[in-house]
């Protein structure tokens, strides 16, 4: 999610460079063609809700739970 977009989704991926007339220098990084879509948040409430949905607790060694 970036720049106020919600509903990010990659719908398709494919090797679109294979068999091209020249070899590409980026090939070694496993480049694939993709399609992706997203939607501009309809309002501030939707954007805030989308950011809130991304919040999560990250367990870290050394916390009270880990020492118990």
């Amino acid at each position: 999610m970036a720049a106020g977009f919600v509903g990010f989704e990659i719908t398709w991926r494919k090797d679109v460079f294979g068999g091209a007339p020249q070899a590409g220098s980026a090939e070694k990084f496993g480049t694939l063609g993709i399609n992706f879509r997203a939607r501009k948040a309809a309002n501030q409430d939707e954007w805030t809700a989308a950011l809130e949905a991304l919040r999560c607790k990250i367990p870290v060694d050394g916390t009270e739970e880990a020492r118990a």
Binding site: A2, A3, G4, K14, V16, L32, N35
Partner: protein
């Protein structure tokens, strides 16, 4: 300018990168059959699953310089009367397909930084007699389009060439109406690209 670009500037000369990309795509415009590290033209359109009917009425001079990496039209229908911005429109194939889809009550603005591509796209729109499409010179990071103008932003094989991707996405967001759609064809890498490699111009263009 975003923080991302400021960090990159010390490592990558953005103007040199833009010039290299323009030179590469000038070649795609003027010598489309030369043979590149990517497919072009109708063979590429087939790989990307473009439907034959989309290409009907679109001049060959436009199709031959097609150099996308995905299929923005597979991501959602463009409806009659909608307004579309095509970021990095190249020779104009996606803009012209979009212009056909939205019909005479819709509008399409194609934006590109390469003058030879814009020349081809304008000529192709005239040949196709599509009057609802306009082509403008500009950068993805500073789109020459009003705030909230577009229902849909499309782009195809362009975002990966942007040194400042965050700025380009912010601009796409700015020109979209609230709730507007982003439909993008681009590339991803399956292996991490080292920072040292990101400074190599030929890796960006090839």
């Amino acid at each position: 300018m975003s923080d991302v670009l400021r960090e990159q500037e010390s490592a990558l000369d953005v103007n040199v990168l833009r010039q290299a990309i323009q030179e590469e795509y000038n070649e795609v415009a003027s010598h489309p059959h030369k043979g590149f590290h990517f497919h072009t033209g109708r063979p590429l359109a087939r790989i990307l699953e473009y439907q034959d009917e989309w290409l009907e009425g679109i001049p060959e001079s436009c199709i031959e310089s097609f150099a996308g990496t995905g299929n923005p039209f597979s991501l959602g229908e463009l409806s009659s009367g909608e307004r579309i911005v095509d970021v990095g429109c190249g020779a104009g194939i996606d803009s012209l397909i979009a212009a056909k889809k939205v019909g005479p009550n819709g509008r399409v603005i194609g934006v590109d930084m390469t003058s030879s591509m814009l020349k081809k796209s304008r000529r192709a729109a005239e040949e196709a007699e599509l009057k609802n499409v306009q082509f403008r010179e500009g950068y993805a990071e500073a789109l020459p389009v009003d705030d909230g103008w577009a229902d849909v932003v499309i782009s195809n094989g362009v975002l990966n060439l942007m040194p400042d991707k965050a700025a380009a996405l912010e601009e796409m967001n700015r020109v979209l109406k609230p709730g507007g759609r982003l439909q993008i064809g681009d590339i991803l890498v399956q292996k991490a690209v080292p920072e040292s490699a990101k400074r190599k111009i030929d890796l960006w263009t090839g």
